[in-house]
Symmetry: C2
Subunit: 354 residues, 2 copies
DNA sequence: ATGGTGATGGTAAGCGCTTTCCAGCCGCGC
DNA sequence: GCGCGGCTGGAAAGCGCTTACCATCACCAT
């Protein structure tokens, strides 16, 4: 190949185009397109070979946006999470991306920093990018924003597919973890261990996940009867730092609690730290601690954290599968079970007066 | 607005187009384009208002691929990591995405499952998508693949920007953590604590990160002189499971070691677990453990992990900044310091015979 | 022989947007 | 009073690709 006849030499904007390949192979654009990018039409083996060779020689790389424009669809899925570096979302994202990849899709990811407004904004941007599907992995908000609903409906109207992870009050396919039942199981565990005075570390009340877990726990606690007192609920950030702070204020307000239920594992880690390092309490001898989610490292904490396991990776995968399957007439809801994992951070209630 | 004159009614392929907006506003396509999507050209205030109103009424959403085609560039950056749910990469990704967002870019993310071949594949796919920039966050491999180099060079030739995180043997802007110096600091610490027999838990030797940290440690250990014996190096997966397994085999092979240096925190977590839970050793009384990276939860382990801190979020951010700044004549290398964090998992060497 | 039937290749009309020209118009200075 | 430069708006030529639709041609049945 002479330097002169390399179309890449005149690399103006983009590089080698399909036309260059077609010319070099001595075929029409249509033929080149048919062989290089899957088509239902068959091309004769000799021409096909010529085109293939030409493409390789020129190092042709198809222009995605151009294909997207012509085909009116792309091969990318959009994923919206709260924070990429929150292990909860990281696991969900891993599952979702795995499935996307299996289907030949690329994944566009956006993190909202837990800001509802940016959720809407990203849905719009993804729509503009003409992604095939959008996955909202964050928890919904109580009475989810009009705006989010409109944005998603718009996107769906245009043929886009939508799926949600966690309850959202929105009419789209949803992967639904058993937040209430999981929390209820925690209530039963603590009751069985003889705890009477317990505290709950809650995230922002507007999050559906928080509301559901809290309600599940409180309802069960009440229905279990007996002479237990009402749980003290402290609200803070749904993070390690939030859990740390909330634990300090909980123990100040209600020093008599013998068990702390953190509504997610991140808060539980903060609680463990506050209890053991700051407050000098032994876990579980003085205070039991329970988390929720079963992030991957919870078994490595000391003591190992009793928590409610959610199959996060699988949840992400299921959601992506939903979104890649044909649109159903009515929104589907895929329940995901939660499993109580009893480990070292819980024990019998400290006997009063000891 | 009558139902009949809503162009969305004839929603064939895509929805509302710029032409619909232009018609409704009674202006030309050019004008509509100028007001809706930033242009250097000024449009009269009245027309601009008309267009804006029309766009809002029709809920116009620009077609990204079409814009990309016409402009010959996109607003997306590509990010390749080994695993999204590995906290090391999650933190880097968070930093990178933050900066991308600040610059109005969307992020496309791909995870290779530590498979070098898929790294190349993703670079190609990103190139096809005409992303503005590609960030490779995984560690390089010793004598990095020809193929990767070609793919990246191709992309860069076409005007794309490339940046790497960690050493890669490739001529592109790189954010360079002080792996060798950090590891050397660990050697000094262990020497100072009186350790003579130490083990190293290494990841796959072909990873540059592993090679650098290992060399840094070994060189320093040797140069420190004295009567210390040569470290026993065990290679395994660069993960928690790998660390666990490697620790078991290390202690079987060299029961006399009084300190274990894991080349990353994930392996250190596995080591802690193997040592304490499986082998019944006390840390740091029987064996000291050191990690590398300072993942966010290492302070919450029991004992808190002594490790080398790397500012992961910032590294991701820096890399994205590099890639969004104009291409330099020669590849830049941005050094990032590593800081030894001495915490509870290290202590004086057990006295021989006690 | 001859019209019919598939296969295969080519032609050309877009996909929705940006951007270069070009035309019209204003106000200005000489 | 008239030509000229500065502005604003529109027409139209693409950006690189897909995909009807059409033209051939070989081959078969009649």
């Amino acid at each position: 190949m002479q330097p002169g006849d390399d179309p890449r030499a005149r690399r103006g904007p983009g590089g080698v185009t399909l036309r260059d390949v077609a010319e070099r192979a001595g075929v029409s654009l249509a033929t080149a397109s048919r062989v290089l990018n899957g088509s239902s039409r068959v091309v004769g083996p000799d021409l096909a070979a010529r085109v293939g060779r030409a493409a390789a020689e020129l190092r042709y790389a198809a222009n995605g946006p151009a294909q997207a424009l012509a085909r009116a669809t792309t091969n990318v899925a959009g994923l919206v999470v709260h924070e990429v570096d929150d292990p909860y979302f990281a696991s969900i994202a891993a599952g979702a991306m795995r499935v996307a990849t299996e289907h030949g899709l690329l994944t566009m990811m956006a993190s909202t920093s837990r800001d509802a407004g940016r959720e809407v904004e990203y849905v719009h941007r993804f729509q503009a990018q003409r992604v095939r599907a959008v996955l909202l992995a964050g928890s919904g908000r109580v009475g989810d924003g009009e705006e989010l609903g409109r944005a998603l409906a718009d996107f769906a109207d245009g043929g886009g597919r939508v799926a949600l992870v966690s309850e959202h009050d929105l009419p789209f396919d949803t992967v639904l973890p058993a937040n209430r039942r999981g929390a209820a199981a925690v209530a039963r565990l603590l009751r069985d261990l003889g705890h009477r005075e317990v505290g709950v570390l809650a995230g922002p009340g507007e999050l559906r996940t928080v509301a559901d877990r809290l309600a599940g726990f409180l309802d069960a606690w009440e229905q279990l009867g007996g002479d237990r007192s009402e749980p003290v609920v402290v609200e803070a950030d749904f993070s390690r730092a939030g859990g740390h702070a909330a634990t300090l204020s909980l123990l100040a307000r209600a020093p008599q609690v013998t068990a702390v239920f953190a509504l997610n594992d991140l808060m539980a880690v903060g609680a463990l730290s506050a209890l053991q390092a700051d407050l000098g309490r032994r876990v579980p001898d003085d205070v039991s601690v329970v988390g929720f989610d079963d992030l991957w490292f919870t078994g490595d904490l000391q003591p190992a954290l009793t928590t409610v396991r959610l199959p996060l990776e699988e949840m992400g995968a299921r959601a992506m599968e939903l979104v890649l399957s044909p649109a159903p007439a009515d929104p589907r809801r895929v329940p995901v079970p939660a499993e109580l994992l009893v480990r070292g951070s819980t024990g019998p209630a400290r006997r009063p007066g000891t």
